[in-house]
């Protein structure tokens, strides 16, 4: 199987990554958890896609499914994942090893636990270079130093010989980025890369990621729970809820014209600096769905203030908007539709009566 992969030619046309009907389910004592339940999306070369969702929305499992980093036991995988035009969804870990690092790389939330505490920084950056690119030790270390300069680590030469615990959290995340970029991957997956960092450091790391992506013409899949993080650093955004993609659009279009009530509610529930203090926050009632027994129909319907009978019976498909074919959403009564306004007006009247 690995021979076939190496033989397949890299084509520079066509999208870099195409997912079609990707499902990742886990068998647990409670039943089958439908962590990712039919996600299709396309990522073009050099673009940054943000995947936003709350915990349990399946965003992390989606990125791990693409990477092929899933437990082998009790995992059910379906659907197609095409990377550089070839199918990688069914590859074994062994076959994926040629892809990891070299063509796609991943950075994780916690930079401390993803680095080996007993290995020098330099050796950890040099390792993928020696494995994938057959570099000599001295070449690999020289490249490592250059990479550390690229991620703007001061005194790179000295840091090469240090151990992870001697560095701060932000520095460690820079090292992770250097390792991920060592072999020049075309796709970088970042799973909550800044959640463990302080705000001032978060801004630095996000800027660094964007800059490196542009310099190297890399595609980025940025997984996060923070709408603020994706707003400034991605070209497109996909919103996940209950294992499904519920809305996807170019970043500016999404914020200007959100269709899915969940996306709208998510944005409204964030406290904003522009609002005076003690502004009452809009809340989404209820809790995220149980992925063993997801709700029938639209998965957001039990929490959606605009849900009608149809939402609770029939699952809405992901369809493009009239104005922008790149903007897709899965909702029967999207924000701005007559039914939406009607329900909203009725709710307001009810609230006034109650008050």
């Amino acid at each position: 199987m690995s021979i076939a992969i190496q033989a397949s030619t890299r084509t520079d046309d066509g999208p870099l990554l195409e997912l079609e009907g990707v499902r990742t389910h886990f068998q647990t004592p409670r039943g089958v958890v439908r962590a990712v339940d039919g996600v299709s999306l396309t990522l073009e070369r050099g673009r940054a896609l943000g995947i936003v969702g709350e915990s349990g929305s399946g965003k992390t499992i989606l990125s791990r499914s693409i990477m092929g980093l899933l437990p082998t036991r009790g995992t059910i995988r379906q659907g197609s994942i095409r990377f550089e035009g070839r199918e990688i969804g069914g590859l074994s870990r062994r076959a994926m090893r040629d892809v990891w690092g070299k063509e796609m790389a991943m950075i994780f939330q916690d930079p401390m636990t993803s680095l080996n505490p007993l290995m020098k920084i330099g050796a950890q950056i040099a390792e993928p270079l020696r494995i994938h690119l057959d570099m000599s030790r001295s070449d690999a270390w020289a490249t490592a130093e250059r990479l550390m300069n690229d991620v703007r680590i001061p005194a790179a030469g000295r840091r090469l010989r240090q151990y992870p615990h001697e560095l701060s959290g932000g520095m460690r995340q820079r090292i992770m980025i250097a390792i991920a970029m060592a072999c020049g991957p075309t796709l970088l997956l970042a799973d909550e890369p800044t959640t463990a960092l302080d705000v001032t450091v978060q801004a630095q790391i996000l800027d660094l990621l964007g800059e490196q992506r542009r310099d190297r013409n890399m595609s980025l899949l940025l997984v996060t729970h923070d709408l603020g993080v994706v707003a400034g650093h991605t070209d497109d955004i996909g919103v996940m809820y209950g294992g499904k993609l519920v809305e996807m659009a170019p970043t500016a279009e999404l914020f200007a014209n959100m269709k899915m009530p969940y996306t709208e509610a998510l944005l409204q529930s964030i406290p904003k600096l522009a609002d005076p203090s003690h502004t009452r926050l809009n809340v989404i009632a209820g809790r995220p769905p149980d992925l063993v027994n997801p709700p029938v129909g639209c998965r957001f319907s039990p929490r959606c203030p605009y849900a009608q009978d149809r939402c609770r019976e029939e699952e809405p498909p992901l369809i493009p908007t009239v104005e922008d074919p790149r903007h897709t959403y899965a909702c029967w009564y999207p924000v701005g539709s007559p039914a939406y306004h009607e329900t909203k007006a009725r709710r307001q009247r009810e609230a006034e009566v109650a008050a």
Binding site: E20, G21, Q27, P71, T72, R73, G74, T75, I76, R77, Q78, G79, S80, E87, G89, G90
Partner: protein, 306 residues
């Protein structure tokens, strides 16, 4: 091209079979211990178990190793013509008494030291650690031999201690040996627990240390303690066998270790007299390990895998 991938469900069957195998081990262990304890407790009442001193005679004569395993004496007879099966059952009484007794001593003393050291830290912890380290620094077997011999001597000089039987001596000795490992594990657990927010929450509610230890920390130690105790029980039973093998066993009623020690020289003549007590010992230790393993998984305790 939209070729859907074949779903890969491999692994699901494996998970099931592994879970099943573990479950079998646990079931076996429980069944074995239940049957063994039942027989041991009611040995005098059960018709198929001979009394401790009953001799199985060959043509009216007591004969060394008169019977091999068979219908007359299920597991054969020993060098003084006693039924090996019956003696194994009576041995179980002794062995389980010693094992459980030693575990209780080790767990109570060790657990208490561990909790105090782990919770209060500081000089309390240092003092306890020194005691525990001293206990651990001595070779366990040597310590046991010394302790038993010392108590024997003390018993001769201080007649007030005459009531102390050999069985109790061994129990106490093994209990002392168990203190250090139990204290270590409990201390490590306590150290982790005392940093948890719910302990801080209890203190911020005005709870006294004693209450924090009893209400907040202890309930969280129980799973680890039970698991470690069950696994430790197996080890202590094996340790008793070792002591007996070295000649420090209980003469009457015999433990499994004493039985093995008595018959091992005749292994070539009468294998059954050695092998069957060994088998009882082996299965019992294995059962405790299975159960301990099961509990550890159930409570999700990693430290208990020690």
């Amino acid at each position: 091209m939209t070729t859907a991938l074949a779903s890969s469900t491999h692994g699901a069957a494996e998970v099931k079979s592994a879970r099943k195998a573990r479950h079998m081990g646990w079931m076996f262990g429980t069944a074995w211990l239940v049957v063994l304890s039942f027989c041991a407790l009611f040995a005098n009442q059960l018709p198929f178990i001979r009394t401790y001193d009953a001799k199985v005679r060959v043509a009216g004569q007591a004969k060394q190793y008169g019977f091999g395993p068979g219908w007359t004496a299920w597991l054969g007879t020993d060098n003084s013509s006693h039924d090996v099966f019956a003696r194994c059952i009576y041995g179980a009484r002794q062995t389980l008494f010693i094992g459980i007794g030693a575990t209780i001593i080790g767990l109570t003393v060790g657990g208490l030291l561990g909790v105090l050291g782990g919770y209060y830290r500081g000089w309390v912890d240092r003092a306890i650690s020194i005691i525990v380290d001293c206990l651990l620094a001595m070779p366990a077997l040597l310590l046991a031999l010394l302790l038993i011999q010392r108590t024997d001597q003390i018993k001769e000089t201080i007649t007030a201690l005459g009531w102390l039987t050999r069985t109790e001596e061994i129990t106490i000795t093994l209990g002392i040996l168990a203190i250090a490992p139990f204290a270590r594990i409990v201390r490590a657990q306590t150290l982790g627990l005392r940093e948890r927010d719910f302990v801080l929450a209890a203190r911020s509610l005005g709870a006294k240390s004693q209450r924090v230890i009893w209400r907040e920390i202890m309930p969280n130690l129980v799973p680890a303690m039970v698991t470690v105790a069950v696994t430790g029980l197996g080890i202590l039973i094996a340790a008793e066998g070792t002591l007996a093998f070295l000649g420090l066993g209980v003469a009457r009623p015999q433990t499994w270790g004493t039985m093995i020690d008595a018959a091992r020289d005749d292994l070539s003549k009468a294998w059954w007299a050695t092998i069957f007590p060994c088998l009882f010992l082996f299965l019992t230790v294995l059962s405790f390990n299975f159960i301990g393993d099961h509990l550890a998984r159930k409570f999700d305790i990693r430290e208990a895998a020690v």
